[in-house]
């Protein structure tokens, strides 16, 4: 637009001047002194240089800079086209740097920077309970506590929620739907309106209210064909009829309960959690609150403190030791993902810095060849500023291409990066290249442009006309200055690469230790699948036990399926259930002190199948049934902690899954420890009960078989369907897969950082190669003289190698110092390896030295092959 207007302006100017010249020519001709064409020439002479006039006019209008820019851009393009190899290398280097940064930023942007997608997100807090004495930092709250919070009036609104997936039947194949069990206050609290009908209301929570459900837009479309009459219709969950009262929009989620949420039901209507409502000790609700407008976090926290103290005083048995705390909801959602994200962002920033240094190095190398061109321009009167500007314009053209390609790369990689998101997902906040990310990408490109373009520009324009014009510019002083700068930049590259390699090395070490962890059970050849019984059809524990008996019986009858068992919950695959217990015959615990252990209900074959050895006593047998005395098996950790110098066999523990919480069970065996909650968490105390004595409405079927997992799964499906064809089999996985999934996040981060480290190594290698080979090329004569004076190729090769090694050594020193300083940021990411792990540091140094030597190899070979005669004649 601007250019088009100026072109028209120039055309009009030209027309005006042409008229002038024509009229003058006619006058000269009419005066009769000369012929027509001579007259025209005379008029032209008299008029002056049109181009210069036009420049003067442009200057008057203040357009000079645009003209220059246009000229520089055109010149820059031409130059880049002339050396496509160089251009390609630079653009790809920049695109990788910019792309990686933009992609990482898009993740940081969506996770850390963008506010939660609810109105007034700053008012949303997470409310949780902590128990310093038990070392519990973050726990849910009981239904009764949530009620107390609400009645205290501290918050504008308080709501609690948990997950308990139900089986949906009567709408296509039976399936498990992701169900959020919620107190109705959650909806007005989050302030999101349904797209049809209503959301849940406090009236739905009253005892005896009709069962109601709110479904997600997604479920409404996929399962109910977007039927507009769904609201008011009954649907069947766990074989019980619920009336659909509303449909929530696709983006709606109750925070912290995962990205997959399909239906929402009131707590009072849930077959499992409704039984928890009266129990003050049951910390089963994840609680969020909305602060009153204008209330500060600190003032609310002090009110909440007082409330916690009041509850402790009023209910010392259940609330003793439990403090109530609040934290911004966003912080809780982001959780422990913040540090790794910032570490990765920092690492990727280093990669961009490296890319810039490398490009600066390349530009400097090229500046050497362009010194004569610059000298020529200077000789013709180009000002220094003008030359710097020209060089910067060329850099800008490169940066622009790098930015376009880089942002495209970032856009392509956002999908893959989704696995960096917190597990307690934000599916409603996908990673995307939005305006902010775009702005970030362009900003870092601009910074990069100045970063890699300025030094070569200044250095090239500095040297005098004389020295640059001189033949054999390799000997000129300015050239030595450039080489010095290039050596410095290469040292910096090695230092940066060192930091990244050490970081990647530490994470790799940590990952190696993590995957080498013995979970305490043998995962090989074990496949698992979940079977869940609808609570309203399978009402009694007796039915659950009968179902599981017949399921295992049918399964074990199939070929190759002898080794099958049942467990609820299955270690690492499911969440863990932590229950309090007391030891019969011991003095009662002082108020507020609790003994806890993870609880698992298993069928007799479980321990053998999973390879968990028995250390004392016996395992469960088929004789441990409802009619026999209650028994339990404890883990080694429980035995060591609570039965220090005694034999636990024969003692009784009092515990159980509600409503059997006060059941005394005789300890019949002690088994080895396993890791059930997290792979990286030291095993804690555990207690097992026979499934027959503590049945559950479903559980994980585990099978150890040499048959392929697919056949195992179809055998499980067959057995389940032969009992009840309405039962879904879900969450099918192999146990090695479960183990691998538990380290998926650190694994992904490690590979990402390793990729950065590898790129850094390659860039650093290119840097060393460039500097050393240039130095060799400019010293051909010197090598020739040395060779003619009797230096063997070995001596010359060593000289070149030493040059590279000096570069590397300087960079390594700086890199080590930086890495030592930066390693502490990785501390929280490391498992079983110190942030200053000497082995990792040593290996990293060795790797970088090897890379430096490798980079020197070709130039050294070239130097060794210098023929003294050729070298001397060449000068």
């Amino acid at each position: 637009m601007m250019f088009a207007r100026r072109d028209q302006f120039d055309a009009e100017m030209e027309e005006e001047m042409r008229l002038h010249r024509d009229l003058r020519a006619r006058q000269i001709h009419d005066d009769g002194r000369v012929k027509a064409d001579q007259a025209r020439n005379a008029a032209q002479r008299q008029f002056g240089n049109t181009l210069q006039l036009r420049e003067e006019i442009h200057k008057a209008w203040g357009w000079t800079w645009i003209d220059n820019l246009r000229q520089d851009v055109r010149y820059g393009f031409r130059l880049l086209r002339k050396s496509p190899g160089f251009t390609l290398v630079v653009i790809i280097t920049l695109a990788l740097g910019i792309g990686a940064n933009t992609a990482m930023f898009s993740v940081v942007n969506s996770v850390l920077l963008r506010p939660l997608p609810y109105p007034n997100p700053g008012q949303l807090v997470s409310v949780f309970e902590a128990n310093a004495r038990q070392g519990v930092k973050f726990n849910g709250c009981s239904y009764q506590d949530v009620k107390a919070f609400r009645e205290s009036g501290v918050f504008d609104a308080v709501a609690g929620a948990n997950r308990h997936d139900l089986t949906l039947t009567g709408a296509g194949d039976p399936t498990i739907v992701a169900t959020v069990v919620v107190t109705p206050e959650a909806f007005p609290l989050l302030n999101v309106n349904p797209i049809a009908g209503r959301y849940l209301l406090p009236g739905d929570e009253i005892k005896g209210a009709a069962p109601v459900v709110v479904v997600s837009e997604g479920l409404w479309r996929t399962r109910f064909g977007a039927d507009p009459r769904l609201v008011g219709q009954p649907i069947h969950l766990d074989q019980q009829s619920y009336t659909v009262v509303g449909i929530m929009p696709a983006g709606f989620r109750v925070p912290i309960l995962g990205p997959q949420q399909e239906i929402w039901i009131p707590v009072a209507q849930d077959p499992l959690f409704s039984t928890f409502i009266p129990r003050r000790g049951g910390h089963f609700l994840g609680v969020m609150g909305r602060l009153k407008p204008g209330a500060s976090l600190a003032s609310v926290q002090s009110q909440v403190d007082a409330m916690g103290k009041r509850l402790q005083a009023e209910f010392p048995d259940q609330n003793g030791g439990w403090d109530v705390q609040i934290a911004p909801l966003q912080d809780v959602i982001v959780g422990n993902i913040r540090t790794p994200l910032l570490v990765l962002l920092g690492a990727v920033g280093l990669v961009l810095l490296l890319a810039c240094v490398n490009v600066a190095n390349l530009l400097l190398a090229r500046a050497t060849f362009r010194a004569r061109e610059v000298a020529l321009r200077q000789a013709f009167g180009a000002a220094r500023g003008r030359i710097i500007r020209q060089f910067l314009t060329e850099s800008a053209v490169l940066a622009l291409f790098g930015a376009i390609l880089g942002i495209a790369l970032a856009w392509l990689s956002t999908h893959a990066l989704a696995s960096l998101l917190p597990a307690d997902g934000m599916a409603n906040r996908p990673i995307a290249v939005d305006g902010w990310v775009l702005a970030f990408g362009l900003l870092i490109s601009a910074v990069a442009m100045i970063g890699f373009g300025l030094a070569p520009a200044i250095l090239t324009s500095k040297s005098g006309v004389q020295s640059n014009l001189r033949e054999g510019s390799a000997q000129s002083g300015s050239d030595r200055g450039r080489l010095r700068l290039r050596s410095f930049l290469t040292g910096a590259e090695i230092a940066l690469a060192m930091v990244l390699v050490i970081g990647a090395g530490l994470l790799l070490q940590s990952l190696r230790r993590m995957t080498a962890i013995d979970p305490g059970f043998t995962a090989a050849n074990v496949t698992k699948a979940m079977v869940s019984l609808p609570r309203y059809e399978y009402k009694t524990p007796q039915q659950w036990a009968t179902f599981s008996d017949s399921l295992l019986e049918r399964l074990q009858a199939q070929p190759g399926m002898k080794d099958s068992a049942l467990a609820v919950p299955l270690p690492l695959a499911d969440g863990f259930v932590n229950l309090g217990f007391t030891i019969a015959g011991n003095a009662p615990l002082p108020p507020g002190v609790q003994q806890n252990a993870d609880y698992v209900s298993v069928s007799p074959g479980y321990f053998g199948l999973m390879g968990i050895p028995v250390l004392r006593g016996r395992l469960f047998t088929a004789d441990d049934s409802t009619s026999s005395p209650r028994v339990a098996i404890i883990s080694e950790a429980l035995a060591r902690r609570y039965f220090k110098n005694e034999n636990p066999i024969g003692r009784k523990l009092i515990f159980g899954f509600p409503p059997e919480s006060d059941q005394a069970r005789e300890i019949v065996g002690v088994v080895a420890n396993i890791r059930d909650a997290e792979l990286t968490k030291e095993p804690g105390p555990m207690m097992y009960v026979p499934f027959a004595q503590a049945p559950f409405w479903g559980g994980e079927v585990v099978v150890k078989s040499t048959l392929p997992p697919a056949s195992v799964v179809s055998a499980i499906r067959q057995s389940v369907a032969s009992i009840d064809k309405n039962l879904p089999v879900t969450d099918v996985e192999t146990m090695p897969g479960v183990l691998e999934a538990s380290t998926a996040q650190p694994r992904f981060r490690t590979w990402l950082l390793s990729a950065f480290g590898l790129v850094a190594l390659l860039l650093a290698m290119a840097g060393v190669y460039g500097v050393v080979s240039y130095s060799v090329a400019s010293r051909t004569k010197e090598f020739g003289v040395r060779a003619s004076l009797g230096a063997t190729p070995g001596v010359i090769g060593k000289m070149v190698l030493m040059e590279g090694l000096w570069l590397a050594a300087a960079g390594l020193g700086a890199g080590l110092a930086a890495a030592l300083w930066l390693a502490r940021f990785l501390k929280s990411e490391l498992y079983g390896v110190a942030a200053y792990d000497p082995i990792t540091f040593l290996i990293s140094v060795a790797v970088l030295l090897a890379v430096a030597i490798l980079a020197c190899y070709l130039p050294a070979r070239r130097a060794m092959k210098v023929d003294p005669m050729v070298a001397l004649r060449y000068e």
Partner: protein, 109 residues
């Protein structure tokens, strides 16, 4: 016959003067008018007329409009603005001052 180039800095004044007297002129007419008025003693360095006119446009001393010559060729015609008229007075006053001073210097010598 030799013609003198106009003293530097007086080009604006001459253009303004010519336009004040003759109203609307295109570039070549301005150049010719300066020559005629000065009885062919002063000669405008022809091309520099145009940057000067552009600068005067920017300053708002003159206005330009496209029109047609007698031979029906497109030409840009310039005319004085009020600001231009005021500028002319100032330029003449300044010129008189300078010439007066120069004259005094010459007399004293």
């Amino acid at each position: 016959m030799t013609r003198d180039e106009i003293p530097p800095g007086t080009l604006y004044m001459l253009i303004l003067r010519v336009l004040a007297r003759q109203g609307e002129l295109h570039g070549f007419e301005i150049a010719k008018a300066i020559e005629t008025l000065s009885q062919d003693i002063l000669q405008v360095e022809e091309g520099s007329l145009y940057p000067a006119l552009q600068r005067m446009l920017i300053k708002g001393w003159v206005r330009a409009e496209w029109g047609a010559t007698e031979e029906n060729r497109r030409a840009r015609y310039y005319r004085l603005t009020a600001a231009g008229r005021k500028q002319l007075e100032q330029e003449i006053a300044r010129f008189d001052r300078v010439i007066g001073a120069v004259a005094r210097v010459i007399e004293m010598a």
